[in-house]
Symmetry: C2
């Protein structure tokens, strides 16, 4: 439906030779493993921004496009794979920070801060992953972060206050809400870094922990 490039064309006289060039085979060890391709993609994205072309990625990896396609699939699959990678990295790094405290509010604060830090440190990759897809595909993939990272945190919160029946639906909605607020504030902050990291962290933490209610007006 998208690019059904079918070539059923009469043969022509091509001056340049086609086919495999002289070089070492691939049997002696996998030359371009999936991980190497993804790492190259991350490098290309960091360099060229979220609108990198697949040609640029393939060139960075030192392979040709069909190899890239055999290794990771089409562009959507690439976005998906990189989203998984980034999510895992974020989860790991943030989890380490979160584990350093016992206070739930402080856990949330560390989660927020870690999210902002990593997004800023890998700005282009973050944009590529969150804005890379299009249309319905995007609907599938943009939620990866929420699917993975936040769910376990919110589950933890839900378990913490185990007085209630621990409705799993609540945890799901909350985890999407949590990630969504983080994501939008991150986008805004990447665009206009007018506030300090710590300030933004405090404001989001306040919103998410205490809610909009706060206390009644003092009058």
């Amino acid at each position: 439906m998208k690019g059904s490039g079918g070539a059923r064309r009469a043969p022509r006289s091509t001056p340049r030779p086609r086919g495999r060039p002289p070089g070492r085979s691939s049997r002696d060890g996998v030359i371009a493993g999936r991980d190497a391709l993804l790492a190259a993609a991350e490098r290309a994205i960091a360099r060229d921004g979220p609108r990198v072309t697949l040609d640029a990625i393939a060139a960075e990896a030192g392979v040709t496009k069909p190899i890239l396609y055999r290794g990771v699939g089409d562009r959507d699959a690439l976005v998906f794979a990189l989203a998984e990678r980034l999510t895992r990295r974020m989860t790991d790094q943030v989890a380490e920070q979160v584990a350093r405290t016992e206070d739930p509010e402080d856990m949330l604060r560390r989660l927020v801060r870690g999210y902002l830090e990593l997004a800023a440190a890998q700005r282009n990759l973050y944009l590529f992953v969150t804005a890379g897809g299009v249309g319905d595909k995007r609907l599938q993939q943009s939620l990866l972060l929420a699917d993975g990272a936040a769910q376990q945190f919110v589950d933890g919160i839900a378990a913490f206050r185990s007085a209630r029946g621990a409705d799993p639906a609540v945890a799901t909605v909350w985890s999407y809400g949590l990630v969504g607020s983080l994501h939008y504030v991150t986008l805004w902050w990447l665009r206009e870094p007018s506030l300090e990291l710590e300030t933004v962290t405090e404001h989001i933490t306040s919103l998410l922990w205490t809610g909009l209610r706060l206390e009644e007006p003092v009058d």
Copy 2:
């Protein structure tokens, strides 16, 4: 950088006539005003989904592509313009609902419900507007909803609890957080409508109003 379509090619013998066809001029009233173009774009999007081509939009509007470009600009400008329109529509409709109550929590609840309702009612347009852009451009436009709709609501909340110094930075961060959580929950809900509208509304409202804290564990 993108499509610098420069034609510096030797003239060919084209059988078909080029140029302006017989018809009425545009002096007697603007034929394809900006609003008409945008309305046609919305129709085409509703029909074809968020991946509509500009050709389809121009055809729906009954004009040719250059006219579309003169009227609204390139694709990013189109996304931007439609985002503005949708935002205004949402703001108006939601504001009407919000005004029917005095209780701040109920105002928030109505805001949430209205957001979900409109997004679901105009699913394709919502996806086009929120996922339409790419790369850095997206960073500019995806925040329109937050820029407009939520800010005034959060300002209201901030004014309501006027005890604090009403830091405008807090209101900004909160409004992005508010819209972000709405947006992500909406995407999830559009993908998997497993819960009733009212249930989702209650869960988000609870998260945003009360926060993750709730009460201490009962033990």
